[in-house]
């Protein structure tokens, strides 16, 4: 598989985007809005000229500011799917897909993306999911060497999103192209990409596989961005090999991570159990937080329960068995081995 190498600096309004990244499989850049994610794609596509940088695809040079070289966008072989899809409103679905096909037949693509029956329709007549499929087909018809996806799932409603996410993951696996996608949703990134980079204020905070990011979040931002609970406290050496953390609320928690001073306590919702009663003698979990049950949100077959400051994820069956209801008191427990400490 080819490798896209990028290394550039682009001054933006509030900060400079600085990125060095090799893309050979699917890489997702996640970050809050305004982190410079879309700008990364525009630089790679050649729509924005960075102040300094080099971009090449294997041996093919796309940009080298040191030599004053920059390939125009039409000659960089990228398939860019815009966040709002940017379909040509004056052209039919077929003409949209054929736009960059340079005369190659597009019927196979229309078939593959299940839009053949829409070939004569215009973009404004399509649903969100259909538009996305047209945008993907159009980008691939150009025969790209690199695929760039800008928030590929953001414009879809929740119902459509789950299905499209699945299809997109499959497509990316099949294509075997270097793909760079940006999203503000960590779950989307984890579902679609082999490697995830967390981009904040124009810089990569952490880069790794989705599993690595969750197992060892480097700082409080990465932790909370990847969906973890984040509690603040003060760490000191506890008994044994454990670190004890005194929370602002006065409760003590324990972790196997070593730390001292102000720390963030990180625990993922699926590591947290919920109980109606606390039985210290019948539970291996060291950490207990007592709190009022807040919201209960069903997500697919699970329920996200808010207990005091923590979010726990339990099965729908467990939630029903415990008769959890907002306003009641519950205990959230989690093991010291599942409790990460990060610098604040």
């Amino acid at each position: 598989m080819a490798t896209l190498q990028t290394d550039f600096t682009l001054p933006l309004r509030a900060f400079a985007l600085e990125l060095a990244l090799d893309v050979s499989r699917t890489v997702a850049l996640v970050g809050p809005s305004g982190a410079g994610k879309t700008s990364v794609l525009r630089v790679v596509a050649g729509l924005v000229e960075p102040e300094r940088g080099r971009i090449c695809l294997d041996g093919e040079r796309w940009l080298d500011t040191a030599r004053g070289f920059s390939l125009p966008p039409e000659r960089r072989r990228v398939g860019l799917v815009f966040q709002d899809y940017a379909l040509f409103p004056h052209l039919s679905v077929r003409a949209n897909v054929a736009f960059g096909a340079q005369g190659r037949p597009v019927d196979a693509l229309l078939e593959r993306f299940r839009i053949r029956h829409l070939a004569a329709a215009h973009p404004r007549e399509l649903s969100g999911g259909e538009r996305q499929r047209v945008a993907l087909a159009r980008a691939l018809a150009r025969d790209p060497a690199v695929l760039l996806l800008d928030e590929p799932l953001a414009a879809l409603d929740t119902h459509t999103k789950a299905e499209v996410r699945h299809e997109l993951a499959e497509l990316l696996r099949e294509l075997e192209l270097p793909a760079l996608l940006v999203t503000h949703d960590y779950e989307d990134a984890a579902a679609l990409a082999d490697e995830v980079g967390v981009l904040v204020d124009g810089r990569l905070r952490q880069f790794g596989s989705p599993a690595e990011l969750v197992a060892r979040p480097q700082d409080a931002f990465v932790a909370s961005f990847t969906g973890a609970n984040l509690l603040r406290g003060r760490a000191r050496r506890g008994e044994g090999a454990l670190t004890a953390i005194r929370l602002e609320s006065g409760e003590d928690l324990y972790s196997v991570d070593e730390a001292e001073g102000d720390v963030g306590v990180v625990v993922y919702p699926w590591e947290v159990s919920v109980a109606r009663r606390h039985a210290p003698d019948a539970d291996s979990a060291l950490n207990v937080v007592r709190g009022q049950v807040g919201s209960l949100v069903e997500v697919a077959n699970r329920v996200r329960v808010r207990v005091g400051p923590l979010t726990a994820e339990v099965t729908a069956a467990s939630a029903a068995r415990l008769e959890l209801a907002a306003g009641g008191v519950a205990y959230a427990t989690f093991k010291a081995t599942g409790t990460r400490l990060v610098p604040l």
Partner: protein, 248 residues
């Protein structure tokens, strides 16, 4: 309406076959056609640049383009004489090249193009600015260079605005009087356009002036109707069938 009420339609039509009328009509149509071709050819790229680029002096350029809009036609005429006349700014250069503009049909064309151009260019800038830059970017990443992108994406999307501007510009150019009579004079069959002929005939044969006025009213009115139809026109598409398709 009063124009039509004064003399019978038969008399009006009879007047239209007089040489002074046919000559003026021909001059008007010919000069208008050439002037509008110039406006389209030069105005379109200028408008696109002004709409899509931000550069120093852009505001000044926009003001210069729009200036004829607010200038009294007589002032525009004096300005053209000062620029292109035999003793004008560029007169010497043109003279050396063997070009004499004053009192020729070329002078009419310049006067008409100068006065009518802002109507097109203003609209064209607005139409180009309304084209989503992401569509232009999409076209580029799909392998289309600047020229192909312009003709296949920008122009089709801006076409209605351009047509509206061109219709207004044409109407304004057809009615051009002040700058034309000052810069190009009124030689029948050469520089005497319909509005100029109306002014001349007004002193000699009022009915003829009336007939020519009626002609201009009809042409301008037809133009406005055509413009309205263009703006309402939608390419035929399958309707309703997909409009409310559920998202799947």
């Amino acid at each position: 309406m009063a124009i039509f009420a004064r003399v019978s339609p038969g008399q009006l039509v009879a007047q239209l076959s007089r040489p002074v009328v046919t000559d003026a009509l021909l001059v008007s149509l010919k000069t208008s056609a050439i002037a509008q071709a110039l406006v389209l050819l030069l105005g379109t790229p200028a408008a696109y640049l002004l709409a899509t680029r931000r550069f120093r002096g852009r505001s000044l350029a926009v003001v210069l383009v729009e200036l004829p809009l607010v200038l009294p036609p007589a002032v525009a005429g004096i300005g053209l004489i000062a620029a292109f006349g035999r003793l004008g700014l560029l007169g010497g250069t043109l003279d050396a090249l063997g070009v004499q503009l004053g009192l020729t049909q070329a002078a009419v064309v310049i006067a008409v193009a100068y006065v009518a151009s802002p109507f097109y260019v203003r609209q064209a800038i607005a139409a180009f600015e309304a084209v989503d830059p992401n569509l232009v970017a999409a076209s580029r990443t799909l392998g289309a260079g600047r020229a192909r992108t312009f003709f296949r994406v920008v122009l089709p999307l801006a076409r209605r605005g351009l047509a509206a501007g061109e219709a207004l510009s044409f109407a304004r150019g057809l009615g051009e009087f002040g700058a034309t009579i000052m810069f190009a004079g009124s030689l029948q069959g050469v520089t005497e356009t319909l509005p100029v002929a109306i002014y001349q005939e007004f002193n000699r044969n009022f009915t003829t002036a009336l007939a020519m006025s009626a002609l201009l009213v009809v042409v301008s009115g037809a133009l406005l109707v055509a413009l309205r139809l263009t703006l309402q026109w939608q390419p035929s598409r399958p309707t309703s069938r997909f409009l409310f398709a559920p998202s799947r």
